[in-house]
């Protein structure tokens, strides 16, 4: 089966700003791909090119077999779009909005089912202007799903949510994958990507700086931390990643924990020193992410 989305060498500049500097990736049918990256990374630019809103400067793009810039109605009939920012006629009720926006699709999910799916049951007949920000966002999601799309684009679906609203939205999005939908979502929350996505692309400064499953992202580039307490820093062994003293705590950043531990424990036993509170911390994905993005933001190349 051909991938639902395939992008090769995508470029886009705005004046002197390079928003996308040659981005390539694919999204398979039924897969959830997250584009993870800080603000200004180029996520919205990439997604809106795939949706047909913006034109790429270069690269080849295929979305459900269409060129999005000329896909037209037939193309939009098969995709669902949740934009990062859009308004709506706030004088309408939730039900009215869904009915009017769903009308043009050739397939439809029943309005009540949609309202239920996004958890707006109690609000079906409320004017949109009375909804909270989170509820409006869930209405956006309902509108994106109204045409029972094969492929759903979600541009930062939960930004600005409180943790519980976030959990609820995650549950909803997970529900979509069980319906077999292909999902391309962007986020700048690592935990969101980790929770929802089968695969993550880390975008920074318009380039893909890392790609893989959440676990795979951590491998290789990850620093574990070895820490213990000591009275003085003098004569502590010098290793590649330390020592760094914070009060009485000594920390080493380590890419090869076994070797570094051996060195430290040998040093300690030779001198009869106790490594009080010895601790080895595996890197969190957050650290990995900050590490990846930090490198590129400082102008360095990812390793």
């Amino acid at each position: 089966m051909p991938p639902a989305v395939s992008v090769e060498g995508l470029t886009k500049t705005y004046g002197s700003v390079t928003a996308l500097a040659g981005v390539s990736f694919t999204v398979d049918e039924g897969e959830v791909l997250a584009i993870l990256g800080p603000n200004g990374a180029g996520k919205t630019t990439a997604v809106e090119i795939l949706e047909g809103y913006r034109r790429a400067d270069g690269g080849t793009i295929s979305v459900l077999g269409h060129d999005p810039s000329s896909g037209g109605r037939e193309f939009r009939d098969r995709i669902g779009i949740v934009l990062q920012e859009t308004g709506i006629e706030v004088v309408l009720t939730v039900r009215e909005a869904i009915d009017v926006y769903a009308r043009s699709y050739s397939r439809r999910l029943p309005t009540d089912e949609l309202i239920n799916l996004v958890g707006l049951d109690g609000k079906a007949d409320a004017r949109i202007k009375t909804l909270s920000g989170g509820q409006k966002r869930r209405l956006d999601l309902a509108l994106g799903l109204a045409g029972d799309p094969e492929l759903v684009f979600l541009d930062e679906p939960t930004t600005g949510f409180d943790p519980s609203a976030r959990r609820k939205s995650w549950a909803m999005i997970e529900g979509l994958t069980s319906l077999g939908k292909t999902i391309l979502l962007t986020t700048h929350y690592l935990d969101e990507a980790q929770h929802l996505a089968d695969r993550i692309i880390v975008l920074s400064g318009g380039s893909i700086v890392a790609e893989g499953t959440a676990d795979a992202l951590g491998e290789g580039r990850a620093f574990s931390t070895i820490s213990f307490t000591a009275e003085g820093a003098d004569r502590l062994p010098r290793l590649e990643g330390g020592p760094v003293m914070t009060g009485h705590t000594v920390t080493y950043r380590s890419t090869s924990v076994t070797t570094d531990l051996l060195e430290l424990t040998t040093w300690a036993t030779e001198r009869g020193v106790e490594l009080a509170g010895l601790e080895v911390t595996r890197p969190s994905l957050e650290d990995v992410y900050l590490d990846i993005v930090g490198e590129t933001e400082n102008g360095g190349r990812p390793s």
Binding site: R73, R76, T86, G87, V91, V100, R103, Y105
Partner: protein, 257 residues
């Protein structure tokens, strides 16, 4: 897609826009209430005048009908579509399979509906309270002028929207064009004694060519043909101009402040 499906989509959009209209009190006020207020005020002020048995409203109600029709098309589209664009509503619409022309047809169709409603309202109020007497003979001509006029002012309303950077300037732009044009076109005060340059100025703009023949159609003293082709011609030129501006400058994306 079958033609029936297109018709149903357009109809749905018209109803949708009508609903928005009634739920936006400012739009409803300027489109319907303002011409009513003018009709009542002027008819009361000039209530003691008569022309061979005909009241002031005989001539003024059709003028206010045109005023209301232009509000419904020109001002409504210029302001309404600009705000829809700024708020990202147009962008949202473009993300669905709804054809662009269906959206516009819904907007314009809703304007036509408001225009028909307000024209009817002026005539009924004029008849009920100010001694307006319906002239039936030229209804066909009035209808033709009305159709061309609405088409022209719809195109111009969208052209104003297309040329604005943001919606907050749209009420000022729409009214800044419409109200002076109404004066130089003799909507409120006849230009019989006006200086020549003002008359020429009025001739250039399309409103006089809408209001003039439309009023004549209900003028019991008028003789001869109602539809001067030069009127339709001038409106037609403005219609084409409006379409050119739309094709060249209209966008669906918000433009930022």
């Amino acid at each position: 897609m079958s033609p029936a499906r297109y018709v149903s989509l357009v109809w749905g959009q018209i109803r949708h826009n009508n609903r928005l209209f009634w739920r936006t009190p400012a739009a409803a006020f300027f489109t319907l209430a303002l011409p009513v207020i003018f009709l009542v005020l002027f008819s009361v002020i000039f209530g003691d005048q008569e022309w061979s048995g005909y009241s002031f409203a005989q001539f003024f109600a059709p003028a206010m009908a045109v005023f209301a029709a232009v509000s419904s098309s020109f001002s409504n589209l210029a302001i309404g579509v600009s705000y829809a664009r700024d708020q990202g509503i147009l962008k949202r619409v473009r993300g669905t399979p709804l054809p662009a022309w269906v959206y516009m047809a819904g907007r314009i169709g809703s304007g036509v509906w408001m225009a028909v409603l307000s024209v009817g309202l002026m005539f009924v109020l004029g008849w009920a309270f100010f001694d307006f007497r319906m002239v039936w003979d030229n209804l066909g001509s009035a209808l033709l002028v009305f159709v061309v006029g609405i088409a022209t002012f719809s195109a111009l309303g969208l052209a104003v929207c297309a040329s604005l950077r943001n919606a907050d300037s749209s009420p000022a732009a729409a009214n800044g064009v419409f109200l002076p044009m109404a004066f130089v076109s003799g909507i409120f005060i006849p230009l019989d004694d006006a200086p020549q340059w003002l008359v020429i100025l009025g001739d250039v703009f399309p409103l006089k060519h809408f209001a003039g023949p439309f009023r004549e159609a209900f003028d019991p003293f008028h003789e001869g043909a109602i539809i001067g082709w030069e009127h339709l011609g001038v409106m037609g030129l403005w219609l084409v101009f409006g379409m050119l501006v739309i094709t060249r400058y209209f966008t669906w994306d918000p433009r930022g402040a």
